[in-house]
Symmetry: C2
Subunit: 199 residues, 2 copies
Amino acid sequence: MTSSAHTRDLILDSAEALVLRDGAASLTLERVAREAGLSKGGVLYHFASKAQIVQGLVERLIRHFEADLGQYLRKTDTRPGRRTRAFVRASLEGSWDRKTGVRSHGLEIFAALMAALATAPESLVPLQQRYARWQREMERDGLEPARATVVRLACDGLWFSELLGFGSLSPRRRATVVQEILRLASQDEAGVSRKAGRA
Amino acid sequence: MTSSAHTRDLILDSAEALVLRDGAASLTLERVAREAGLSKGGVLYHFASKAQIVQGLVERLIRHFEADLGQYLRKTDTRPGRRTRAFVRASLEGSWDRKTGVRSHGLEIFAALMAALATAPESLVPLQQRYARWQREMERDGLEPARATVVRLACDGLWFSELLGFGSLSPRRRATVVQEILRLASQDEAGVSRKAGRA
DNA sequence: ATTACTGTACCGTCCGGACGGTATAGCCGT
DNA sequence: ACGGCTATACCGTCCGGACGGTACAGTAAT
């Protein structure tokens, strides 16, 4: 019990780093073990199979992201669209520092995603369920649903494109893009009614 | 030479179908061969290695998408933002039917992407280069660059989320979302102008 | 004769997973 | 305070199987 939770986290960190550095195909028990400074047997003691490591990755990512989301949500923003804005911030600014510096959720999602798609697609189900929930929440967030959805999609597109190197942006441009996304998530005026509009 | 190009396409189709149906991990030479109704030797006659199949997938996808993009671009839209709108349409409505019905570029990109990430990440380079180019073109398209970029990202986010089942939308909602994206790509100036109604 | 394959056999490598063993630490009755 | 027992946390090895790739002999149509 003493170090169990710690070692599990260490193994997941190693798996994550491995996928990010060497690609999803490099996610093997032996490599994870070496990265974590354990033996293969040691890794299998904590996770009974490779699929369970991937599952662990997905579940941990959900925990981290929801924690971050909650944090952003608590920050005294009461105008309509607050959930959507919290999602934007958690997606794009969100960090969860493990001893050193910053790590975006994008990296975490990406690693889990690649790992899951390459070895155990069914372990994405919990993440899909969360996404469905987030989507529902953002649709009832005071913004026009289509608008909120576009904002959500732009966030997904951003971290995803960044990680794949698809039309990557300069830091300067990225900042203005994030601003624009937040602006679209703040639009109460014009196009969106705030009085009679919604029943 | 005559049937060579045809068989190459058949092999690529099979690889694509395989990835889409059974996941990237199932992309093996033997399975591709069986899917295509060839022998392993026959497949290797056309593609010297598995990596070359993946490369072929990426290259063909680029050809298809650019052809579609060109088509949409030719359609007498001369207002600022035409390239951006063409990109939206090619991404989200774009189809390239091979005998039957419709196939979105999303599917094609996704298959190539998964295959590449799982087995030969370096074969994504050509696609990354194209994306960089499209990004540059859309930034000089008459729209505010940050706006055009958000539109681009929302497109990427949409097909990507759809294929992964992340917060998927009803057909009805999807339609309004696409409309909203196009609306954002039509905005010449003045932040958000107006209008909730449609023609 | 060339092109476009089929079919079979084979090699070296790597992988997931099972298994047996080990070191350590803690509790328990005496 | 001792020996006995158990649980935790690993290590190292082994194995069956799959995969990428090679080689090569044969075939059928052009």
